[in-house]
């Protein structure tokens, strides 16, 4: 599968403070890639570096086959970018914004634009200055979708939105990505929403990419394990590295298995706890996986 975004050892520092460190990731074409991480993890800086708003301090990033520092009008005709920090020309009406954007994109689709206007519940005569935060994001999204971009980049698209607007946006995006098979790169710390949209996940922590894989694979290998044993024997001195956040109490042990395989995991548990009575492996949501990893990173820090 072709890579729409590929970075290698991407670094960005502000002065002497590194914000993005040695990030190597690839976003396959047609995927919805979510970059998640706590506040200050470097998500926005990574995205700004990818779209040439910031220059990398070292390393490289290719977007649509072009080095990010060389991105120009011909590449931006295929990229849609929506960010919570982006400033829209507030003096324009929605119609004026669309009229301003239209001549820049040869693939601008008037019919699709009309459809989006209705779907996103935007009125053309509304001045952008008078729109709420959520409606402004919708206007930005509209002006970034109407030309069928190959790559859509969304930086914290759901931040600060109320539940209704968030739901509308997600529903709209699910429909659109399903129709056109766009590649989407989004950053967010709204894990529940990301789970519904993303098929690839990258977790950033303190500027470093700790994890990058498909959601299916991630959810397949992560399990919440609950073990019951028949005696109160001493805890083993060491546990496998794939077991995270192990907590033992009386005849019970709980941990997160990061390399789950039904048979191998049970064998491994039985080796360590010969008096094993019961093993319960529960699939984990993306949010639970993220929280488990985030706690692990914090503990290891």
């Amino acid at each position: 599968m072709e890579e729409v975004i590929a970075t290698r050892n991407l670094c960005r520092a502000f002065g002497r403070r590194p914000v993005v460190q040695e990030v190597t990731l690839s976003v396959p074409e047609g995927s919805v890639f979510a970059l998640i991480g706590p506040n200050g993890a470097g998500k926005t800086t990574t995205i700004k570096t990818l779209v040439n708003i910031l220059e990398p301090s070292s390393g490289e990033a290719n977007v649509l086959g072009t080095p990010s520092t060389k991105l120009g009008p011909s590449q931006f005709q295929k990229i849609g970018y929506v960010s919570e920090n982006q400033e829209l020309p507030e003096w324009m009406t929605v119609a004026e914004l669309l009229a301003y954007c239209k001549p820049m994109y040869p693939t601008w689709d008037d019919a699709f634009c009309e459809l989006l206007l209705r779907q996103l519940d935007l009125r053309p005569e509304q001045r952008i200055r008078s729109l709420s935060r959520g409606m402004k994001l919708k206007a930005a999204l509209l002006s970034s979708l109407a030309y069928h971009p190959r790559l859509l980049i969304l930086d914290e698209p759901f931040a600060g939105l109320d539940a209704l607007i968030r739901e509308e946006l997600i529903r709209g995006m699910l429909e659109l990505t399903g129709q056109d098979r766009w590649t989407v790169l989004m950053s967010s710390h709204e894990i529940d929403e990301v789970e519904r949209l993303a098929d690839w996940i990258g977790i950033l922590n303190k500027g470093r990419l700790e994890l990058c894989e498909s959601v299916t694979s991630l959810q397949a290998r992560f399990r919440q394990i609950d073990v019951r044993v028949s005696d109160n024997g001493d805890s083993p001195s060491s546990l496998p590295v794939s077991w995270l956040l192990a907590e033992k109490s009386a005849q019970r042990l709980q941990f997160v298995e990061t390399q789950y395989h039904a048979q191998k995991t049970e064998e491994s548990i039985r080796r360590i706890f010969p008096t094993l009575q019961q093993v319960l492996a529960t699939p984990m949501s993306l949010k639970s996986i993220f929280l488990a990893l985030a706690r692990t990173y914090r503990l290891s820090a």
Binding site: P73, F76, Q86, W91, P103, M104
Partner: protein, 502 residues
């Protein structure tokens, strides 16, 4: 090119209200103030309103110009990371081209067109316009457009722009005055004279040297434009800010130190000869005791009357520093020095004063006149203890000599003369009571203002009044206007003659 025009149209729509106001101001300024329509105003009140309106309109026009440029550049901000255009298919070159076109088409060209119309209405020839208009473009661009565009290109939003603008102006003044202060020291061997110092005034922020002004303006445009283009194409704000700061220092240094006069003079005015520094003699006599002492805080200044001898007609002198020594008979030595003529401080060398030079010379020494000057400053205790003691007074003085250059020109619109400041054209003669012409106590209050325009390089973009260093007298009977100006100073460095006093 289509996208350049597309962006240009967007900016015109965005700034439409300010543009309408700008064109309105340009029109009013040109029609009412510079086309001679002002002659129709007859009453004093009308003239006062008119004069105030001129200043307000001019200031407003320049402020508006700066606001438009800043809004234009920041509509697609180059600094910061949040501008809309950054992730849209707009190339940096096209953005630069579009913004430059806007400035040219909306600000520079209309302003020039208005100027051409005004000159044409006043009967000015095309050749004269061709010599005057480039200067207009250079000065306007250097003073208003380039600096405001530069600051706007280096800041991401209006709040930071205001802060950066204020900081830049403050820094420029501080650098300028620091440079001036460093060359203003007075000493026996010092002959340094900052070009920004006009006699009797504190240093001015803009120099009186026309060549220095033009060269620094061109330098400002060249360096400013380079930084602006760099910032548009590279968006490296730190590098651009460093470049702009260095450029500002260079421009400030040029403003202060440029001394090569680029102009060629015609000999339309009196020759600059007739002054022999050796023959100039300052005769000092102490004032009677009752009037001869000025008391300041903890200090007394002994005053004397000085008369200058050997100064030819058409010259006047300004004392710019005194170093005085008093050797008393018992061996005690009292000395004082003033690096600057503090007794002239506060006396502006404005137009009214300048006119008085013709009849009632001030503020310098004229041939045959005497002036009260401070001879020596001593503390109160020394004065009390030694006031009856005989002694010998010696002082060194630094004097700047100025030559007044005058020429008469026919009193009709369009008449011209060539002289030191370049070419001067009488644009219009406006009925006007209570103006500088009537400020002369001996002049007849005939109520006319002579409106002049200078070519070459002017000190300032003042259009309806001649430059502050000029004066005009109108002779109605002879149908002539006498235009005069002080030449640039020549240094005379010498000693007061020694005199005994008790």
């Amino acid at each position: 090119m289509n996208l350049v025009i597309h962006n240009l149209k967007k900016d015109m729509r965005y700034l439409r209200l300010l543009l309408v106001l700008w064109f309105l101001l340009l029109l009013v300024n040109s029609l009412l103030l510079r086309s001679g329509l002002d002659r129709l105003i007859a009453s004093d009140e009308g003239i006062e309103v008119f004069a105030t309106a001129y200043v307000l309109l001019y200031v407003l026009q320049q402020i508006l110009q700066i606001v438009i440029v800043c809004q234009l550049v920041q509509a697609d901000a180059l600094a910061g990371t949040t501008a809309f255009w950054l992730t849209r298919p707009i190339s940096r070159k096209r953005l630069l081209l579009s913004n430059s076109l806007f400035v040219l088409l909306m600000l520079v060209l209309p302003s020039l067109l208005a100027e051409v119309i005004v000159l044409w209405v006043n009967g000015i020839s095309a050749s004269y316009m061709l010599s005057a208009l480039p200067e207009e473009v250079i000065l306007q661009t250097a003073l208003f457009l380039v600096p405001s565009m530069l600051v706007a290109a280096l800041t991401p939003n209006l709040a930071r722009l205001v802060v950066a603008g204020l900081a830049s102006v403050t820094a420029f003044f501080l650098i300028h005055y620091a440079v001036l202060a460093s060359v203003m020291s007075f000493g026996a061997g010092s002959r340094r004279q900052p070009v920004g110092v006009f006699p009797g005034q504190w240093p001015r922020i803009f120099p009186t040297s026309p060549s220095g002004m033009l060269v620094s303006a061109m330098l400002m445009i060249g360096l400013g434009a380079t930084v602006i283009v760099y910032q548009y194409l590279k968006r490296r704000t730190v590098n651009s800010t460093t470049g702009a700061t260095l450029g500002m220092c260079l421009v400030s240094a040029t403003v202060n130190f440029w001394s090569w006069d680029l102009r060629t003079f015609s000999e339309g005015l009196p020759a600059r000869s007739g002054l022999n520094p050796e023959s100039v003699k300052l005769v000092v006599t102490r004032e009677p005791k009752a009037r001869g002492v000025r008391r300041d805080v903890g200090k007394l200044t002994i005053l004397g009357r000085c008369e200058l001898q050997g100064l030819p007609h058409n010259f006047f002198l300004v004392l710019t520093g005194v170093k005085a020594t008093l050797r008393l008979s018992d061996g005690k030595v009292v000395s004082s020095s003033s690096d600057y003529p503090f007794w002239l401080f506060g006396e502006d060398f404005q137009l009214e004063k300048e006119i008085k030079v013709l009849n009632e010379p001030s503020p310098g020494f004229e041939p045959g006149m005497s002036r009260m000057l401070p001879l020596l400053s001593v503390d109160a205790e020394t004065f009390q203890n030694y006031q009856g003691t005989p002694g010998t007074y010696t002082s060194e003085a630094r004097l700047d000599v100025y030559q007044r250059l005058t020429s008469s020109l026919p009193l009709k619109a369009g008449s011209r003369y060539k002289g030191d400041p370049g070419e001067t054209t009488l644009l219009s003669i406006v009925p006007h009571e209570g103006t500088f012409l009537t400020a002369l106590s001996s002049s007849k209050r005939d109520g006319f203002v002579v409106t002049l325009r200078e070519s070459g390089v002017r000190q300032w973009l003042q259009r309806t009044l001649p430059a502050p260093a000029s004066y005009v007298l109108r002779n109605r009977t002879r149908k002539e206007a006498l235009l005069g100006r002080a030449s640039y100073p020549k240094d005379i460095f010498g000693r007061f003659p020694a005199l005994d006093w008790s």
